[in-house]
Symmetry: C2
Subunit: 570 residues, 2 copies
């Protein structure tokens, strides 16, 4: 591949990788800030391949030193454009260098990055731009139509990495404006509890809410992601998850913390993903400006929801990877068949759980030594649990409110660790958002009892693992009893022939509501299933109705469910 | 092995691993505190072998859940004994469970642990106890003689782990005092910048100085140690380094962060160390109270100075380890022959650098992909450099003061990255001590220019790596020119026949001083050397005088040097 970064992207010979640190800071204190990871990477591994963007008409790739220079240029360009500390900068882009740059460059300018979901309708985008009070927009050329009727300073990126691209010219203007003051010309944000990223979630009702995270939380969450995913110098993190989702789950920072290479794909289609898995496995690729890159090394890590994983295993390109790949799965529990299919392809599964309000995943299903002696079905049942909180997070709890008249010494009481009693998942501490932006009422509600209340319902096992059974709104009221659609899904999902399952409530004349399960059967088992009765008694017992389908229908109930899944993802 | 912890060591069935968190804390904030690592380990891996103490008349071993209970008991026992937040608790012990407990239990009581070097003379110990204002002493039975003339509440540990041992009875009294309030009965230290550990260093002149570290720094340094040493669930960290040295370099916390097993050895003799390397390699050993432990798994990591490493490779027990061991080396640069000898034994080398003031090691020699193509001699020259700052530390710099009349915009100016210009090593930020305890004058001096001034002299290379050339006091003034004893040592140390080398200043009638090198030749090469001339011209050019010896003589100059090495180590 032949590509030269713009001249403004090349750092000076004696680049200094150090923010200006106000003298008032104690000698033994530096504010936690994920941009520091990139400064360190540029210092230690200046020529290592940091960011590659291969599957586009104009591929581009950057070493850590060049990437750091570009994010510095972006910071200066933003300051030149009038962005002040605490201002919001909106970014609307698919996975591509511009949005990756922004997670560092916007923070280097002490502004707040507001990455917008590209799948939203223009009026939702408009709401977010207005509610966030964004003062400038960085937009990819493919999404300019989302900005009709919005009159804000806007920089369009053609995603070429070449001079003449308005985004590149914006970076170059930042470099000129910097007058080569470099990183020491930029003040570090001294208050690590300031806002860093503002991510709007699609709630089940009402308008999107803006989750505001902090520098401190982003730094600590990113370290935990790296530790829990085992990212290191030899890793290549593939952007299947959209970078705009819940601040990329912090992986843009984690990967830099670990000195891993990142690869961005504009579209997460199975073909290009498999191509990345089957690339030559040569970690530690170095980039020398002016010399063509021989290859981008094979991906070793990616994050995605089960739906994406299923499309991967069913793709015609699917064949076993030799070097080992880690799939970080969130959004809903991986099924037994999904786990088996991925493992057969050389992909190991890490099941995580979290919400935008917890910096993306902050809970992990930790594997146990004794699992190696279990059957796939037994193991997948345990792997379906959400697990325990990440390394830098405080514990995750399952709680209930005290009953009227009950003696208690806390606002929230733990439910028994019996694997049966349902309570709400709560947590607190560094890996919880700062607030819902400009929405003190929603913040107060989410933080009642001094904890972040997730809205997810779960049981707690004796070993301290948490298992989500549902969101409160997903409970199906059947004959006065609560039936959990997620619990039914998880029960059905352990069946080796099941690829995907979704349970919704269906009105019932006698019971009010009854669960209705839609099931997709694995391609290899479909023939067998078409000959069989479609309602094995155990399934009907669990789910009431079961319908085998070839794709999950989008209807009222399911749409809601998909949104809920997405909420868990983002 | 047959061992049952005392009844008071066993956690209740529904143990809660959560400090009391005052309501005033924001929902999105929890103070960084290394004790949290143990609470998480006890929650996630309650039955995993956490701490083993094998080579004593009464071996003992504890799972994470039991160890957490014991540290909780210690916290309550200290509170019962009148210890209040910020009080100092002195600990005098070899590597053993009591001192390991104390790094968690003393902090859980919000007190400051002051671990004392067991090799000091009684009057130095007395000075430290008095200067630190310690209010209680935990002492191992072997070191009670160091406390003559000190009248403070003292708990003696017989290192048995059995009821009747005064230390065990102290823990039991703490459990009783707790009235089963458990962790929620203990307040977390809400100010993460409070003092955590107080470590006295032997300076080259004057009385020892007390380095005070913080909760925040300990938490972040411990994470960096785990990341930089690649500690994980399968690791077994062997305590060769004394736990009293510079707060154990934070590895007692790192290993728990990583869910590794720790093994304590009272004496770091080669025989017991090799026995630990050659133990069965079965990671993830679980401990069930009441059931005998089958074996303690083989050590995978240890920290030690080159001198200890040399005694290891020359021990009769030395034979290749099959499972891979990491030696973390600090104190002085590993020589080419040491690197080769260790690698031939299956032990890989991680060269780190730091001082007590930087939480032990905070700088690492990061390996480079192109090293695999280098000769051992070339590689060892690069590995002798101290390198770059750790993951959570700010960069390490080599600086000079502005010259008189020189225009400058900072108090400290970087020296050129030319590998030649000598400056002083400085750093700042979270991985720097809070202060010299009760010594504002020394603190002010160490923190001049808004940085911690290490007193170590170094050159800076173009790739950002730092290489120590000397301490200011070690410079040899020869004919008006500065000669660096460390640089000469490192030059001689690259010779494949050299095992150990030490350079001192020797008075010279004409030059004032000239360097004098003492060299130990590798056993396998000694015969060859006794036949050869002892002064190859290149060596003489570098060192002036060279003397081949069988052990490094202890004389005035060398004594100083050893102390300096120790200072770097501790």
């Amino acid at each position: 591949m032949n590509f030269s970064p713009t001249p403004a992207s090349l750092p000076p010979k004696n680049a200094v990788y150090r923010f200006n640190q106000p003298k008032k800071l104690p000698v033994n204190y530096h504010p936690l800030n994920p941009v520091l990871f990139l400064l360190k990477a540029a210092l230690l591994h200046p020529d290592k391949l940091a960011l590659a963007h291969p599957d586009v008409p104009h591929p581009s790739y950057y070493s850590f030193a060049v990437w750091a220079q570009r994010t510095q240029n972006l910071a200066y360009a933003l300051i030149q454009a009038g962005i002040r500390p605490g201002d919001r900068v909106a970014v609307i882009a698919p996975n591509s260098p511009m949005i990756a740059d922004s997670y560092f460059g916007v923070l280097a300018a002490r502004a707040i990055i507001c990455a917008v979901n590209t799948r939203l309708r223009p009026d939702d985008v408009k709401y977010i731009i207005e509610h966030s009070g964004s003062r400038l927009i960085l937009v990819d050329h493919e999404y300019t139509h989302l900005l009709d009727g919005i009159s804000l300073p806007t920089v369009v990126c053609q995603d070429t990495g070449r001079a003449g691209d308005p985004y590149e010219d914006f970076l170059t203007s930042g470099r000129v404006f910097s007058r080569e003051r470099g990183w020491p010309g930029l003040d570090i944000e001294t208050d690590e509890n300031q806002g860093a990223a503002l991510c709007y979630t699609s709630g089940t009702t009402g308008k999107p809410k803006g989750v505001l995270t902090t520098y401190r939380g982003s730094y600590l969450a990113a370290i935990a992601d790296a530790v829990e995913s085992e990212l290191n110098y030899d890793s290549v993190y593939l952007w299947v998850l959209p970078l705009f989702h819940a601040a990329g789950w912090c992986y843009q920072w984690s990967a830099v913390f670990a000195f891993s290479t990142q690869v961005t794909l504009r579209t997460a289609a199975p073909g290009p993903i498999w191509a990345r898995f089957h690339a030559p496995s040569k970690p530690g690729v170095q980039v020398n400006p002016g010399r063509a890159l021989d290859h981008i090394p094979a991906a070793t890590h990616y994050c995605a929801a089960p739906t994406v994983q299923i499309s991967l295993i069913n793709a015609p390109e699917a064949r076993r990877v030799a070097h080992g790949v880690k799939a970080i799965i969130a959004g809903s529990a991986p099924t037994a068949s999904l786990i088996a299919s991925l493992e057969n392809l050389g992909i190991s599964v890490v099941h995580v759980y979290g919400l935008t309000e917890t910096y993306g995943p902050s809970v992990k299903n930790y594997s146990r030594p004794f699992w190696k002696d279990l059957s796939l079905e037994e193991r997948s049942k345990l792997m379906a649990r959400q697990g325990h909180a990440f390394a830098t997070a405080l514990e995750v709890r399952v709680v209930r409110l005290p009953k009227e008249g009950e003696a208690h010494d806390a606002d929230l009481l733990d439910v028994p660790k019996d694997g049966k009693t349902v309570g709400e998942v709560v947590t607190r501490g560094n890996i919880v958002m700062k607030e819902y932006f400009n929405d003190p009422e929603a913040t107060r509600k989410a933080f009642r009892g001094g904890h972040f209340n997730s809205g997810d319902l779960a049981v707690w096992y004796e070993d301290g693992t948490v298992q989500i059974v549902d969101r409160s709104k997903d409970l199906i009221i059947s004959g006065g009893e609560n039936a959990s659609s997620l619990a039914i899904e998880q029960e059905l999902a352990t069946h080796p022939d099941v690829q995907e399952v979704s349970v919704v409530a269906r009105p019932h004349p006698r019971w009010g509501e009854r669960p209705m399960a839609f099931v997709i059967i694995l391609p290899a088992s479909r023939e067998k299933w078409s000959e069989k009765a479609l309602r094995p008694s155990a399934w009907v017992r669990a789910a009431g109705w079961v319908e085998v389908v070839s794709e999950l229908p989008v209807r009222k109930g399911l749409e809601l469910k998909c949104m809920l899944f997405q909420r868990r993802l983002t």
